[in-house]
Symmetry: D2
Subunit: 394 residues, 4 copies
């Protein structure tokens, strides 16, 4: 490996990913992925590097690209660069053109397995037609958003291989979306702003698993939590958890912090932004950077300045200043180090086992979106409990 | 001002310190500190710069040094450098010799008022004898630790001017020590380690106001909290808050994170370190960097490496790895940006009002440690409530 | 109505069940249940009386029995006694023989619709053969336990009519099981024992929706929470919520309070009881009174005494005293007034709408266990939000 | 002892008051109170009976009256009746005339020590002049309210013996006022109303130790908490705890539950009651039953009815129904069993040690209000920790 800081970050992650270590040992000795070409399109930071190394230990050749230009950490890319059998094409802040070129390189790599979040590779493969994907055995998709896109491909008859919805694993959405997003988004927001959370009014937009984690940690930091949610059952749950349920505009007018986690484009639209109060900090914790309608905001703003690293102020004609943390991209990655290490140990162990499962069983599976195999889900949970039992007694 | 990043950080802080803005306006127009020479020895980061600018706006000439080599932010020092009437002598990681030289410069400045945390300037002045402090009107001291040293000077007959124990203000220790330390220490620890807090066992050593804040936020992040505390009444409080009360050694053996907040040197001593479990992360949230006995640890460790920025591993002969975050110094400053802005707005408004009070009344006050004037404490509380009322309605 | 105290309790419940009021008005004017004979086997306390009155307002004739001898409130039975068209056969503490005789009366009533929790009526009907149930249109079953028994009937070919699994409604298990059981079980335990919860160690056996509610409220009252759970994924969730995950025996040895919510007979068996610590208070929050193996306990105990109303002490040969609250039956009903009124307003509105649905659509539905209709679930959620919106603004 | 149910309640309390047991053993063998006549004016329920028995075991003769007509439990009075050397004059709901007659009996008893809460005995003694109190050695007063009245006597020169402000003990106000009042008031409110707390808006009037406990448990039960508090520093604390700080009238208009804990007569006055929302439940958790201005409410109400045991509805001319729980008296006693047993074990152990201290040292102490002796405070804390350590390990 090349980059020292990147190597250090990866080593730290490895030391705190006991599940990956267990899998890595088994993969090293048995080489279950021998002969596979795995195309990876994930957030390229240290924990992802550990997954890539685990897959590589299993005997696979890897080509990796970033799933989001603002989540790539260049030092980690650098550290992976001189491992034989691993190729990475990604750079923090890369242009859309560069990103497309990298996706194209991944496609040209002719992967047998794709591991991604967000579904960009799957869509790109579909667009090029089935003939271009010869050899592809299956896809592992991590996010809710990506799964929705795969289901659209399936409906349109453009999914030719089985795809595992890793997000459907209970160990994924109950842990990663909730406890991972909850902690890491607040960690990023506190780091980016240095502002006090206690006593603040926080609006969570969307009360899915991500939203629940965000609300839980906001309350744990002393904030008063408002929730805007369109599913009435979830809204009642939010009320009984002690949060105040509001309409979006009503909440915008009261909130010091606004965090989106809905998976829907432009949910905080121009009308909602009109309601926002002076000094509000807005961030996104959903997969794609489009939940806050930044073009609409930019169109209204007289000027935009970076006021702290990863915090931009938009000054509106009426003088209100709205702060966007992490460029509206997934804030825990764009303004932080992403999910806590142990959370990604779980999620990436689900991924590694799903890859192994596809290699072994992919040929038998019909070409549609499959729920995560329950047995593997349970296996990962037992590995976590085993680890906790060994170390955690207080 | 010189340094761009420092200027940006200071501007962000100013925008979120409404109390300082109110005081700054009044100070600018009335110049209550005209003719004063104020010696400042504080943690030199952005919020402190705002206080320095407020005092300067009041008409004072300022000379500032850092109160801890690892809390100084060079870009902030740079930004203050070309303000006429403000001189700063400090550098991040400066040697003990440099630090002493800077304290000497402060003494030579012949301050009329000293504003500090930790009591180093007061002790230095006392050591040089009364004759060297002609013109000194009074001292404002912010920390519990510093107040204890001032009381020792008073008992020894070496306190010749009135000193205000700013920490005795309810708006100080109830807010800064509790909510400030609680949030910012965890923010720093999460940033430094990228580890998951949920499900972890956290040992808080000392259940004073800092310890309470640390415990509150640990629980809010999903940790199980152990408390070691020598005052039996405080220990019962901890138990009824739902924390598990333990002996120090017992807690060390179970904890994934250990945070000290006692004000006592070497409270986590060699014997306690012997109990620590493999992989534990240790940090200090008390004023001085001596609560964890690092020399004892270093003596035992075969090697020490930096494994992430601000995280060092000590590998013990039996193979256990102990991680020290923030060098054992005040972790929120040595591995982060210090207290949240709004908290320092409160604490520094208490300081600014205490300076003004000493300028007006110092000559009448007997030369001893004085509790913070209750009227000023209430004034600051009312300013905060006014601000909250204006902005916070959800 | 006859009994004054019972009337008062029912009136209080009615005043706090706005959903039942809305349904009651519609039912009164449109009589959608005209001509129906509804057999009710529920916990006969004030909120259930409101449901019975709502169904009665819809035009139905009602015969009601108790679903558990220790949850019947005699004053409520008395209050219902002289409403024309409502017959009740139940008495608190009735013998098993009496209970069977009452079930027989219900069967002889030839109900067109059965509304029950626990499945006893469905099983009794099945035992008497299909010919004896002519005219039966469908069954509404409220509990997880009852649904499991219905599924067994279905598998054995002994379910001849559609049954609605009311518990499958999100508005049921997410609200009633979690927030209802959580609050009311602790309310009953505090009332029965007058003991402090803060600082106590509480073992929750089973981390389903009931267990989550019990754990949430235990923590909210200042307890340290242990969780024993056999599903590893749920166990990891418990750990990340900040609870300590334990094996059952291990937890028994530490707990001051033990509460079961598993639905499994004898989960706290003789071996577990051997581990219990002196002075522990044990209670059950699952539907049936068999989760704590009381016969095993009684066999070991030298003597059994009632030491407070609804609290019995079992003195073991080694001197340990174990306290059983609420006779091991559903503690919120056997030692309290059951779920909070507003929770039962939700659950019983689901029931009333399910009855109306069966009357309208039952003939078309295949004879099996049906998930609760999603549209009705959403309707009830919207009614709750509407109520909250009208009244709750702080 | 006479009454069986009372005996049972007392036995249960004794079994859960380990500190009283330790003191009782020592008192029994050493008889430190031999020859004393102790006048007790406390809430006469089971835990108080244990204190009376402990003092009696120390060799004292006891005469006890109730400190509040609605906190007396007749079965407990009955159970104490035939203990030689203990006389009780009290009855639940006794008239003001009866109460005065009982206070007169206590005065005529010529106590050497008075143990009371609220200060009524001290005031009565003062009114009768010094000559009537010959032999009086000292007074132990438990409440904040009572201490204020003693300080008024002291200022007026009408306090002729030393009085110990038991409430000044940290083990008293930090535990009893906070965790005792917090749990037991909610326990009483839930029992009296059977209403859901989750999702409700709760207004706490007064953010002293009682108010903090009430707020903590309200939040723990899922409520959204509003705080009205006139001390601006405490108000800022409430805000940073995550509660919403409001003006009283503003809070009244939003709250589903209103609980007072200020010690001030008529704090919820006619104007505040005008703001209350339809269906609100009001209760008092301060010592005296005058914090809610019930005469003002009664004057407005067309009618008053009891709607559940210990809940009265006041129907206002505009149709709003306001519910008063526990008659506006201390709700945990007027509608429940008072503080949790373990809390009173602590408070009464402070009392018993204070009595012993006055017997031994009273003659030397100047006749004024004395802070609780720190050494005894620490002793009680150590006894609690010892108990916790022996039993609580999870």
């Amino acid at each position: 490996m090349g980059d020292e800081q990147g190597k250090q970050k990866i080593a730290w992650a490895q030391a705190h990913m006991p599940l990956q270590s267990m899998l890595g040992e088994r993969f090293s000795s048995r080489k279950p992925l021998a002969g596979q070409r795995i195309g990876v399109a994930l957030h390229l930071e240290a924990k992802t590097a550990v997954l890539i190394l685990t897959l590589h230990a299993g005997g696979a050749e890897i080509l990796a690209v970033g799933s989001n230009p603002w989540s790539t950490q260049d030092e980690v890319v650098g550290a992976l660069a001189d491992v034989e059998g691993i190729v990475v094409h990604a750079r923090r802040g890369e242009s859309e053109d560069d990103r497309q070129a990298n996706l194209e390189r991944l496609r040209a790599f002719r992967p047998t397995i794709v591991v991604e979040d967000g579904g960009d590779v799957a869509v790109a493969l579909a667009e090029h037609g089935r003939g271009q994907s010869a050899g592809l055995v299956g896809i592992c998709e991590e996010t809710t958003t990506g799964v929705e896109r795969l289901l659209q491909l399936e409906e349109a008859g453009n999914l030719w291989v089985p795809a595992i919805a890793v997000n459907s694993a209970r160990m994924k959405h109950l842990m990663d979306n909730r406890y991972g997003t909850g902690q890491s988004s607040w960690e990023a927001l506190m780091g980016a702003t240095n502002l006090l959370i206690a006593g603040k009014v926080v609006l969570i937009v969307g009360f899915g698993w991500c939203g629940r984690g965000l609300a839980l940690r906001a309350a744990g930091l002393g904030a008063r939590v408002l929730v805007a949610e369109i599913d009435p059952v979830k809204a009642v749950e939010a009320a009984f958890e002690g949060y105040r349920v509001v309409e979006l505009g009503e909440g915008m007018a009261m909130a010091d912090f606004v965090i989106t986690a809905t998976g829907r484009p432009g949910v905080v639209d121009g009308a909602a932004l009109e309601q926002a109060k002076d000094g509000a900090v807005l961030a996104n914790a959903g997969h794609f950077g489009y939940e806050i309608d930044l073009p609409a905001l930019q169109a209204r703003a007289g000027r935009v300045d970076e006021v702290r690293p990863n915090v931009h102020v938009y000054v509106l004609p009426d003088g209100r200043r709205l702060y966007i943390a992490g460029r509206g991209e997934l804030v825990n990655l764009s303004a932080g180090d992403g999910h806590p290490v142990e959370i990604m140990d779980i999620s990436f162990s689900l991924q590694a086992l799903a890859v192994e499962y596809l290699v072994g069983r992919g040929a038998e599976l019909p070409p549609r979106v499959h729920a995560y195999p329950q047995q593997l889900d349970t296996t990962v949970a037992q590995m976590v409990l085993h680890t906790l039992r060994e170390t955690s007694t207080g």
